[in-house]
């Protein structure tokens, strides 16, 4: 158990820059999720932390030690790979015991037959067996001990991979999309299981995923990466409600946040089309800006009421709620998320009005940076 400090990591493959000065302070025992679209450099960052790849500059600290020059096996971290990377020729029990055998047995003791006659090997092997049993019991895979990885289901392999990581009580767990090979149902289940494992082990977890649902549900803090930049590190709640960058706002949340172009005047009032956002004052005055509104902060009103006139292009019924895709006169599309009962009133092909709840709007300048807003209470 240790903190992990990532300082100013730069990494290029040839001329392609993959990481631009990424810094994160990860606290002891924290569950941090690195999330971002495919190819943004998450795996590369994780591999640098693990010592499988060398950074061009910057440094990694685990606990109080700078580990930049340490081999992966000496960093005292464990990694769970997307493909699980179990040794195909070894049984489950042998797979889990490998990290311990490599550490607790010496070269001669590891030899197939001779090893038995080397002093100390019996005690060491007994201690390994004890630890392996403890882990397999904890993960509920005792019946699988003698199977080969080829005879296991995806979920079982995943557990074995976690077991192999757990067995030596590492300082930190690194996981690279460990659930992406599972079917949707299993994934939701394992999500809870890993979060629970984290609580039980009280160890530091660094978890990579491109699935924002995983990030939001499991993380203590979410680190959003894009194109090699770390955009924001914050609690799931803040990343959702208070994104600092329009790219974060767009990446987190499903359905995606609505972005509308707007204009602020010299008093800071914001105009979306013909409508003034009531009670919102932009700090950037007299400029073209972008307004972000989450679908749940958009409601439809009957045609010709206050709000922006729109046409309902499509609606999706999810049972408990419904998504309405509407088109404004400006041609911009907006998604509204409402209670499913709204379908009685609004459906595809009809006209309506869109209301934006100004309490929940986010303003961004044209470069995508967040603009300070002053929300006034509107009566």
């Amino acid at each position: 158990m240790a903190s992990v400090t990532i300082q100013n990591i730069d990494k290029s493959f040839g001329t392609v820059k993959v990481l631009n000065g990424v810094s994160i302070d990860i606290e002891d025992g924290e569950f941090i999720v690195l999330v971002g679209p495919s190819g943004c450099g998450k795996s590369t960052l994780l591999r640098i932390i693990a010592g499988l790849e060398n950074q061009n500059s910057g440094s990694i600290k685990i606990g109080n030690n700078i580990v930049d020059n340490l081999h992966a096996s000496l960093r005292d971290i464990a990694m769970v790979f997307q493909s699980y990377a179990l040794y195909p020729h070894l049984s489950v029990a042998e797979n889990i015991s490998v990290p311990l055998r490599m550490r607790r047995l010496n070269f001669l003791q590891r030899f197939p037959i001779i090893g038995r006659f080397i002093p100390g090997s019996k005690a060491a092997k007994a201690s390994i067996k004890k630890d392996v049993d403890e882990v397999t019991e904890m993960l509920g895979i005792e019946e699988l001990l003698h199977r080969k990885p080829g005879q296991l289901s995806g979920g079982q392999r995943q557990r074995v991979a976690v077991g192999r990581a757990m067995v030596r009580h590492p300082q930190a767990f690194l996981m690279d999309e460990p659930l992406s090979n599972l079917d949707a149902e299993r994934r939701v289940h394992m999500r809870a299981e890993i979060a629970e494992l984290h609580r039980r082990l009280e160890s530091t977890f660094i978890y990579v995923t491109h699935d924002q649902a995983e990030a939001m549900t499991m993380a203590d803090r979410v680190a959003v990466m894009m194109d090699g930049d770390l955009l924001q590190v914050d609690t799931p709640r803040n990343v959702y409600a208070n994104p600092v960058d329009i790219r974060v706002a767009e990446f987190i949340g499903s359905p995606k946040i609505n972005i509308l172009s707007a204009q602020s005047n010299d008093t800071g009032d914001v105009n979306v089309g013909d409508m003034v956002l009531a009670g919102v004052k932009s700090a950037a005055k007299n400029s073209k800006i972008q307004v972000g509104v989450r679908p749940e902060a958009v409601t439809l009103e009957p045609k010709n009421s206050a709000g922006i006139p729109c046409h309902i292009v499509h609606h999706e019924n999810l049972g408990s709620e419904a998504y309405f895709h509407v088109e404004l006169n400006s041609g911009e599309r907006v998604i509204s998320r409402m209670d499913a009962s709204a379908i009685d009133q609004f459906s595809t092909g009809h006209d309506a009005s869109v209301m934006l709840h100004s309490n929940n709007v986010l303003l961004f300048d044209n470069d995508g940076q967040r603009i300070v807003t002053h929300n006034e209470v509107v009566m």
């Binding site: 096996s73 790979f81 990377a85 195909p88 020729h89």
Partner: protein, 306 residues
């Protein structure tokens, strides 16, 4: 009744049968000659098994009648055997075939063992490690694949004789210890093993050499089997190189060299014992192949030659 006779199918089968016959025929002749008397071989009579009529073993007579005068009837009687016994007993007695077979086993297995010892780390480095000049080295490997052994036999012979290794096991083994074919085959197979597995092994604390022997080797058993068969067959059957490397000392003869013992004596060619020797030489390979058949085919298809 529905007739499912098809002309194209029939044609295919006829072609295949003819092909099979052409391949099998020399083996048929070898096996048949190994059981016949010299007279039957010369006159081409006796069918597959020969008549197995007892015959007089001329070598036996000569050996027990040093004076050279007309041999007695008793001696002739004592030297009378059935042809099959004559052929196979001569194979083992005329030449120390057992020693040759053991030489063959020792040389072939040593070559294979050292080839694996060299090829696996090389293949691993070429497939999975990044280092400056890796592609150039791999190109060299491909280039070496193109060099026929016969082209370098003479320089090799000269080099070995300069260091005084001609007529030794080393002369038979050393030139073959680095198999570029093995390196190439294993490298292609290693390319298909996921990098994650190697990274996992590194994190688990294995050194690069442990990874080669404890992770890559077990994963590559099918490819290794394929290579084993190529290597063992090639060196067990090799006549060319042992003929060059072993010039005088018969103690280092390998089985194929044993065949020479029946060739061009003062007695002329003695095909019966010669073919018996040939049969004895190929038998271990055929048995090994039948035992390993499934693995062999698996290995070749898995390595896929892609």
């Amino acid at each position: 009744m529905i007739s499912n006779f098809s002309a194209t199918q029939a044609l295919k089968h006829v072609t295949l049968i003819i092909g099979a016959l052409i391949v099998i025929l020399p083996f048929y002749a070898m096996l048949s000659y190994s059981m016949k008397s010299p007279h039957e071989i010369e006159t081409n009579t006796g069918g597959f098994f020969g008549d197995q009529k007892p015959m007089v073993d001329e070598w036996c007579v000569k050996a027990n009648n040093p004076s050279g005068v007309l041999p007695s009837e008793e001696l002739k009687q004592a030297c009378t055997k059935t042809p099959i016994v004559f052929n196979y007993v001569s194979a083992f007695t005329k030449a120390p075939l057992v020693r040759y077979l053991l030489n063959g086993v020792f040389v072939t297995l040593s070559i294979f063992f050292i080839q694996v010892l060299v090829a696996l780390p090389c293949a691993y480095a070429l497939a999975k490690l990044k280092f400056w000049g890796r592609d150039a080295v791999f190109m060299l490997v491909l280039f070496c694949l193109l060099i026929p052994v016969h082209a370098i036999a003479l320089p090799l012979y000269i080099m070995l004789s300069k260091v005084g290794l001609i007529n030794s096991y080393a002369a038979l083994i050393v030139p073959w210890t680095i198999s570029v074919f093995g390196i190439f085959l294993m490298r292609q197979f290693f390319m298909t093993i996921p990098d994650d597995l190697i990274d996992a092994a590194r994190i688990d604390g294995m050194s690069e050499f442990s990874i080669v022997w404890k992770v890559m080797l077990p994963c590559a058993i099918p490819a290794l089997m394929a290579f084993a068969i190529f290597s063992v067959v090639a060196h067990w059957n090799d006549y060319f190189w042992p003929r060059i490397a072993v010039t005088s000392d018969r103690n280092y003869f390998t089985p194929p060299l044993g065949l020479r013992m029946f060739k061009g004596d003062s007695d002329g060619d003695v095909y019966g014992p010669m073919m018996a020797t040939a049969t004895i030489i190929v038998t271990p390979l055929i048995v090994a192949f039948l035992l390993a058949q499934r693995k062999f085919i698996e290995g070749i298809t898995l390595s896929g030659m892609k």
